[in-house]
Each structure stands twice: as structure tokens, then as C-alpha cells.
């Protein structure tokens, strides 16, 4: 197992290196440069200022040169300095990461609980009212454009009913936990919808087929209570496909959700990414994208390890 893990970890190094080349190329392929943000306001700009700006940032150099500069800094642990804020990229990401982790984490937990409940209920008692409600929820979650759904929830719960704040993470000046929790509700619910829909359908389908398997009949035949049959035997096996999809989704924990964060003015990574994209802040973009890619790779590895725990037949050498 240790050998397997270290081999897999070693493999990630060339993988990430390759990814970084592709990312850098893609980012640079987008037309326009960081000087675009100077022009955003429509003011007259001294053209020499634009040239000096490009020179200072080094974007007047050929792309391979820029990449090598970036890479040589990264190899010694320096992700560079953001074009627009002149601050270290690592610092900026670290600052935004907690907000994204809290939001995504809450959405995940919420989604996991609801999805498990709906998935299991739907598989055990198909075509009942509860199952239909779950299916409905899935469809709604799937069909709803996120920004629209978010704005509607704001209108209902913040503007009309006044129960929840419209946006942000806290009322400025109020540091209580309750206030933060209230701010978390709407964005977390909006985000959880897209996971609930997927996860509960996977679990329902997977569990339904497990429940028809021979070993379940055997378990029932030997007189085990239905709780144990479903809860211990079937669910465990049914989780395998669900785990792989959840693991991939888990990488989102670190990259955030662009639209939800923007609509709810949530200070997360996703919103910072959009800003960085519009202003062609290459170092910041690379930093965020690399973090995202690393997490995808890592969580894939985690998923593989979890398979082993769920299914003793899967062994890694």
C-alpha cells in the first residue's frame, strides 16, 4: 500500500508539470493582455503608461520565456505576484481559501446528508411519495440556472420575508457565529442542490441494483433485520460508484463556485478567479488553476484508496 501510494504521488509530479504547460498556453492564448484592466474605465490612458505596465509585468516577453520564468520561480516555491494587487499569489489564495472551504464544505455536508436520505429512501421504497419528492428535487436542482435560483431565493428569503441576509459572510461589526451561519444558509443551499441531484440519483440507482443481488437475499434469508441488510451490506457496496463521483466533486472544495460566489458576494476563490480572468492576471490565474488541478489529482488518489476500504477485494500493490 505504501509503495503504491508513493508511486502514485511520484506520478503526479510529471502530470502537474504537463498540466502547467497546457494551462499556461491556454491562458496566454486568450486574446488581450493585463493592460485591459487599465482601459476598463474608459479614461484616456497615456500609451507609454500601458507599455511601461506591460514591461514591468514581463508580458512583453515571448511566451516560452514567460513560462520558464514562472516555472523557475515555482520550483523554489514562489507562485509569483499578482499583476493587479502586487501581492504574492500564495497569500491571496490563502486569504480566500477559508471562505471557499466553509461554503463548499457546508454545501457538501448538506448535500451528502440529503442525498443519502433521498437515495436510500428511493431505492428501498421506490415509487412512493418520498421517492417522487426526491426525484422532483433532483430535477429542480438540475434544471435551475444557478444565478436565477440564487436571485429568487434572495428575493424570497431576504427581501420579502427578511429572514436571511442577501449576501456577504457577515454583518460588518457583528462577529457572532449565528450571524455568520445566517449568511451561509442561502449560498450553501444553492450550491448543495447541484450535488444533491447527482449524488442521490447515483446512490438510488446503485443501491437498487445491489438490493437485487444474491448476497442480499442470503442476508435476508439468514434473518438479519432489514436495517442491517440495507445499512451494512447493501449501502457499503452501493457507495463505490458514488464515491468516485463525490471524490471528483471534492476537488471543487478548493476551486470554489464562480456564479454562486459572485451572486452572494462571497469572498471565495471562484470569484477571485473570474476577476483574475477578466484582468488577465496570469500569475494569479496560474496559481488558482494549479491548485484546482492538484486537488483533482489528489482526490482521485483518495477515491482509489477509499475503494480499497469499501471493498476488500480491491487491493493495491
Amino acid at each position: 500500500m505504501t509503495a503504491y501510494l508513493s508511486r502514485r504521488l511520484l506520478q503526479t509530479v510529471p502530470l502537474l508539470f504537463g498540466i502547467s504547460i497546457v494551462l499556461f498556453a491556454v491562458i496566454q492564448a486568450a486574446p488581450g493582455g493585463p493592460e485591459a484592466s487599465l482601459l476598463e474605465t474608459g479614461r484616456f490612458i497615456d500609451p507609454e503608461v500601458i507599455e511601461a505596465y506591460r514591461q514591468r509585468l514581463g508580458v512583453d516577453q515571448p511566451i516560452p520565456v514567460q513560462y520558464l520564468r514562472w516555472l523557475s520561480a515555482v520550483l523554489v516555491g514562489d507562485l509569483g505576484v499578482s499583476f493587479s494587487t502586487t501581492r504574492p499569489v500564495v497569500e491571496m489564495i490563502a486569504e480566500r481559501l477559508p471562505a471557499t472551504l466553509i461554503l463548499m464544505g457546508s454545501a457538501f455536508v448538506l448535500a451528502a446528508v440529503v442525498a443519502a436520505f433521498l437515495g436510500i429512501a428511493g431505492a428501498v421504497r421506490p415509487h412512493t411519495a418520498l421517492d417522487h419528492a426526491g426525484t422532483t428535487l433532483s430535477f429542480v436542482g438540475l434544471a435551475m440556472p444557478v444565478f436565477w435560483f440564487a436571485l429568487i431565493l434572495q428575493l424570497v428569503f431576504a427581501v420579502r420575508l427578511g429572514w436571511l441576509p442577501v449576501a456577504g459572510t457577515q454583518t460588518v461589526g457583528d462577529t457572532s457565529f449565528g450571524d455568520r451561519l445566517l449568511h451561509l444558509v442561502l449560498p450553501a443551499v444553492v450550491l448543495s442542490f447541484r450535488y444533491i441531484a447527482g449524488w442521490s440519483r447515483y446512490l438510488r440507482a446503485s443501491l437498487a441494483s445491489e438490493l437485487r443481488a444474491d448476497y442480499i437475499r442470503t442476508a435476508r434469508a439468514k434473518g438479519l433485520p432489514e436495517r442491517t441488510v440495507v445499512g451494512v451490506h447493501a449501502v457499503r457496496n452501493a457507495l463505490i460508484p458514488v464515491v468516485s463521483i463525490m471524490a471528483l466533486n471534492l476537488a471543487d472544495l478548493f476551486s470554489g463556485a464562480v456564479i454562486t460566489e459572485t451572486v452572494f458576494a462571497w469572498p471565495g476563490i471562484g470569484r477571485m478567479f473570474v476577476q483574475a480572468m477578466f484582468s488577465r492576471d496570469y500569475p494569479l490565474l496560474m496559481g488558482i488553476l494549479l491548485l484546482g488541478s492538484t486537488m483533482v489529482v489528489v482526490f482521485n488518489l483518495v477515491a482509489d484508496v477509499v475503494y480499497g476500504a469499501l471493498d476488500p477485494r480491491i487491493r493495491y500493490e
Binding site: 484616456f44 428575493l155 427581501v159 463556485a257
Partner: protein, 567 residues
């Protein structure tokens, strides 16, 4: 990076697979549920029945101004920031600011130098000395005195190579800065420059930044981020929570006296989505927000708030490029350009598209500016005249209804910038109306940064665009033959001469007639069709007193020191 889309959708539908009776019923449920949620959202609750604003009740008698602000700023150094305005001006001050009528008024300067008050002196060698006497008793937020040294230091920084100040070129006429005493700074200009009074929007603290190279200052985080960012303004920096808000608190030592400012604290909360800002205002969580013109109707009767439609120095216009051969073939003839202008119904754009919130523009300078000339030639909507002009110029309708001349079809590309709904809508109107006179317009829409690149590269034929003019009325930059921001490639020798002379004229009475003439010539030469002056809907709580609104480059917060909150 996820886009909030369900990327697993296909697989999930595969899993759902059958789409049997359950799925059909579920779909019905979903439809009903959607309708229900939507109905609640749209239902009108009776007036006065709305819940009280959810504010932190712990203000403890402190007057806190809460602002829903549309974007997070980059750095606090006002002279290197790419969005100098508002937040910076709450903390930093310059020699001058402008009121809502584009008038320069002194701030850290005691008065604005003019020839009449004797503070402008022409010397025999052609140079001009302009003397700025400074307010006395002004202290930076860290207690250091503000002196002429700060003014000369700021000049040195802006004009240094790589300072990144957007209008650096305007400062380059200053060849020397002298400090006869602590409260007097004298600039020596190498010539006469009419725009001398609009510079130095902000003064930098020499005692913090002196001794550093330009590059070090640009990258100096303690100043950029608030740790060491003293200003002289009514508010001092308190806190910057990345992605969330900037908080500034009352400067107890403000030079205008103990009565100013009246407000204890301002919180600028960053809410990039305009619909979220709208909802936040409806939920009464903020005192001020800038909204979109489409929101104006929805909030004009919002209880406790007043909607101000602030006419901005940004003017929308249609530009026709003569940068390349094809541009000159199509738009080289002035009568053809006039024909295009006469084909476009601007009053309809203002009345219908913009719901009457804007006024049609005939010249770049807003009527709020004392330099605005109301007597310029106008291009009234007259498709018949347009057709006659095109016929006379030799552009004859072809078989497909599109005009032709020497085998060339009159068809051009309008370059649009994605995400600017107003400009896109104007372009669509222009497209339809030009078609009616036999001119074909096709669209190419690019994302902002890509658009900027094409625009500055001169690689385009026509576009709807907006310039944000400073309060200073110089138009030389965009319309003179060698103007550094002349994007259309236009060159009218007569206009050029008047523009350059207007830049060399000191004082209103000398400049005004020249700029009046320039505005007439600009309209006559017809390279750029002004459409309307942008309107910024600003929604302000009725608790806020002292707000005057302003569409200049100094914005509506220019007189923050005089604002108050009265319950």
C-alpha cells in the same frame, strides 16, 4: 474550476434512464414547485409591510454609512490604482476636486491659480510658473504635517518612468517643482497648458514613500494595502477584508475642523453582481448603491430611498474608423459619414431603449460642464436625407438592397464588447436602421480584454463605445491627428489647430471660445457620432444628507466630508 453547471448531467440522465411514470410525475412536481417559488418572489407585499432592514443593531449611536460597492479595488495607492475614485477619495485628497458641475474647487490648495489672482506668471523664456498655496495645519493621518514637500514628491513620482499613473503624459509639461516655503509649491511648466488645474487628484505622503524607487513604490504592500497608508482626508483606513469590504473611520484630526466629517465610519462592501446590489437595497441593508439603468424603474419608489439619475461624463458614441484602406474606402467621404449619422434615430434610443433616463448628446462635453456648447450642428434622424447623400456619393443600391460602389458592397463589421448590454442594444438599433438605408452591418462580439486589444490596435471598422471624460474639457487626446487616444484615425487639420490652441489657453475665458469652436468642427467633420450621456442610477437612503451626486472623474463622493446621517 467548475462553472456551476451540472457536468454530470448526461450521466445522471442516463442513470435516470427510463423516464418512466415516476419521472413524468416528478417533472410535473418540479414545474409546480418552480411556479410556486416564482409566485412568492414576484408577489407584491403591501407597502409598509416589508420587514425592517437587517442591520447590525450594535451601531451604539455611531453614524455608519453602508455602501454596496460594485467592485473590489486593486491597491490603495490612488496614483497607481486602475480604478482611482470613491474609496481612495474618502482617505486621500489632492490639490483639487470637482463638484457636480465639472467645476474645479480647491481642496489641499487654498485657491486655484489663475492669471487674475496672480498665481500664474509667464516668464520670458516661454515657461510658466504656477504657484499653489497650500492649506495650513493639515496633518497626515499619522500626525506628520502636510507640506509642499509632499506636492513636489508626488510630481516626482508621477513623472518618473514606470509610475503607472494613467494620465502621466499630462504631467510631463512640468519641468520643475520648487518649495519657497512649507505651504507653497511652484510648478514651472515648459509651456502654457490649459489643463494645469485638473492634475494632482491625490497627493502622496513623502514621509512614507520617499527614498524608494518608482518600482518599489508601485509594489510597496504596506502602502498599497493599508498598513501604512496615511492620507489627509476625512476618513482614515481601518480594515480591508479581502473580497468583502473596506472600512474607514472618522479622522478625528481633520483639517476642516472638529465638525467634519459628521459620519463616524464608512463600510464599502464589495458586491459585484448588480442584481444582488438591487436585492440588498430592497432589503434595506445599505445606504448607497450604484445600480444599472434597467433597475431604475424598480427602485424609484422604494420607501426610505431616493433615486438619483446622475448624468455622467461618460458619453456613448458611434465611431467610424479610417485607420486602414477599407475604412477609408467606406468612411473616407464626409457626406457618407453624415449619411450614416442621419440614418440613426438617437431620440428613439434615448426614449425607448434607455427609457427616457438619458439625454441625447450632440457633443462629447456634458451639459453639466461650463464648456458644453449647445450650438453645434446636429444630426437629426432623416433616412430620406441619408439615402440622398449616399446616392450622391455614388453608393447605389445593388440587387440585394445593399449599396455598392466600384464593386464594393457597403457592409462593415461592428465590433462589440461582451457584457455591455447597453452598447449592444445601441448597435442593434444602428444595424436595423442602417439596413433601411442600404448599409449592411454585421456584428463581431469579443470579451473585454480581447476587445480592448483590437480596439487599441486600430483593427476594426465601427463600434459603439464610451469615453469617460475628466472634468477638464480637453478633447485633444481623442480627436487631434496625433492624439494618443485617437482611435478612429481621424485627422481634421482645422480642428487640430483649434484643439491644440485650446490646450495652450489658460483660464476659462480664453479656453471657452476655442472649445466651443472645436465642438462645432468636431460635429461637422462627422467621424464620431455622440449618442447620449450615460446615466448612473444612484440609490441613496433618505437618512443621508449632503449627497450631491456627480458624474465627473471625481465621482459622487467628492464631498464626503460634508455628508451626514440623520435618523
Amino acid at each position: 474550476m467548475t462553472s456551476d453547471n451540472l457536468r454530470d448531467r448526461d450521466r445522471i440522465e442516463e442513470l435516470l434512464g427510463v423516464g418512466g411514470p415516476a419521472a413524468v410525475r416528478a417533472r410535473r412536481f418540479a414545474v409546480v414547485l418552480c411556479i410556486a417559488v416564482f409566485a412568492v418572489a414576484c408577489s407584491q407585499s403591501p407597502a409598509g409591510d416589508r420587514p425592517a432592514a437587517r442591520r447590525a443593531d450594535g451601531d451604539g449611536g455611531r453614524k455608519i454609512l453602508r455602501i454596496a460597492y460594485e467592485r473590489e479595488i486593486d491597491v490603495l495607492n490612488a496614483l497607481t490604482s486602475q480604478n482611482l475614485v470613491d474609496i481612495h477619495f474618502s482617505m486621500a485628497e489632492g490639490l483639487v476636486t470637482t463638484d457636480e458641475n465639472n467645476n474645479y474647487i480647491p481642496v489641499l490648495a487654498r485657491e486655484i491659480p489663475t492669471e487674475d489672482n496672480g498665481l500664474i506668471e509667464r516668464r520670458d523664456d516661454g515657461t510658466v510658473d504656477i504657484t499653489w498655496s497650500l492649506q495650513e495645519g493639515v496633518r497626515w493621518h499619522d500626525g506628520q504635517p502636510f507640506t509642499s514637500r509632499d506636492v513636489c514628491f508626488t510630481w516626482g513620482f508621477v513623472t518618473s518612468e514606470g509610475s503607472q499613473t494613467y494620465n502621466r503624459d499630462q504631467y510631463l509639461g512640468i519641468i520643475d517643482c520648487r518649495m519657497p516655503d512649507e505651504h507653497t509649491a511652484v510648478f514651472t511648466w515648459d509651456d502654457e497648458y490649459g489643463y494645469y488645474a485638473g492634475l494632482f487628484e491625490v497627493i502622496l505622503p513623502a514621509h512614507v514613500l520617499d527614498g524608494m524607487s518608482t518600482d518599489q513604490i508601485v509594489n510597496y504592500t504596506p502602502y498599497n494595502r493599508g498598513a501604512e497608508t496615511p492620507g489627509t482626508g476625512p476618513f482614515r483606513f481601518a480594515e480591508w477584508k479581502s473580497g468583502e469590504y473596506i472600512r474607514v473611520v472618522r479622522n478625528e484630526d481633520y483639517w476642516r475642523g472638529a465638525d467634519y466629517p459628521a459620519i463616524d465610519e464608512i463600510v464599502w462592501t464589495f458586491i459585484p453582481d448588480s442584481n444582488t446590489r438591487l436585492n440588498s437595497m430592497k432589503a434595506r441593508q445599505f445606504d448607497y448603491a450604484r445600480l444599472e439603468p434597467v433597475h431604475a424603474d424598480e427602485v424609484k419608489d422604494l420607501e426610505g430611498y431616493e433615486l438619483h439619475l446622475v448624468s455622467s461624463n461618460t458619453f456613448m458614441h458611434l465611431d467610424l474608423s479610417v485607420n486602414d484602406e477599407r475604412g477609408r474606402t467606406l468612411f473616407g467621404d464626409r457626406d457618407v459619414r453624415r449619411a450614416i449619422f442621419h440614418a440613426i434615430d438617437r431620440p428613439a434610443i434615448a426614449e425607448q431603449l434607455m427609457q427616457g433616463t438619458v439625454t441625447v448628446a450632440h457633443t462629447p462635453l456634458n451639459p453639466t460642464s461650463p464648456y458644453h456648447n449647445p450650438e453645434v450642428p446636429t444630426y437629426d434622424f432623416d433616412p430620406e436625407l441619408s439615402r440622398r447623400l449616399l446616392d450622391a456619393a455614388g453608393w447605389i443600391p445593388g440587387a440585394d438592397g445593399i449599396r455598392q460602389k466600384d464593386g464594393e458592397r457597403f457592409a462593415f463589421v461592428m465590433l462589440n464588447r461582451a457584457g455591455t448590454a447597453d452598447r449592444l442594444a445601441i448597435a442593434q438599433v444602428a444595424q436595423a436602421q442602417l439596413k433601411a438605408v442600404g448599409i449592411e452591418v454585421v456584428f463581431e462580439t469579443l470579451e473585454s480584454a480581447a476587445w480592448s486589444q483590437r480596439w487599441r490596435g486600430g483593427n476594426w471598422e465601427a463600434m459603439v463605445s464610451g469615453w469617460f471624460l475628466p472634468a477638464d474639457p480637453s478633447l485633444t487626446n481623442i480627436y487631434s491627428c496625433d492624439g494618443s487616444n485617437n482611435m478612429t484615425g481621424m485627422c481634421n487639420v482645422e480642428l487640430d489647430e483649434v484643439l491644440l490652441r485650446s490646450d495652450r489657453a489658460l483660464g476659462f475665458s480664453a479656453r471657452k471660445p476655442l472649445l466651443d469652436e472645436a465642438q462645432v468642427l468636431l460635429a461637422e467633420t462627422a467621424h464620431s457620432l455622440p449618442i447620449y450621456y450615460n446615466v448612473v442610477p444612484e440609490l441613496v437612503s433618505r437618512r443621508v444628507k449632503g449627497y450631491r451626486g456627480s458624474g465627473t472623474n471625481f465621482g459622487s463622493f467628492w464631498n464626503l466630508y460634508a455628508w451626514d446621517i440623520i435618523e
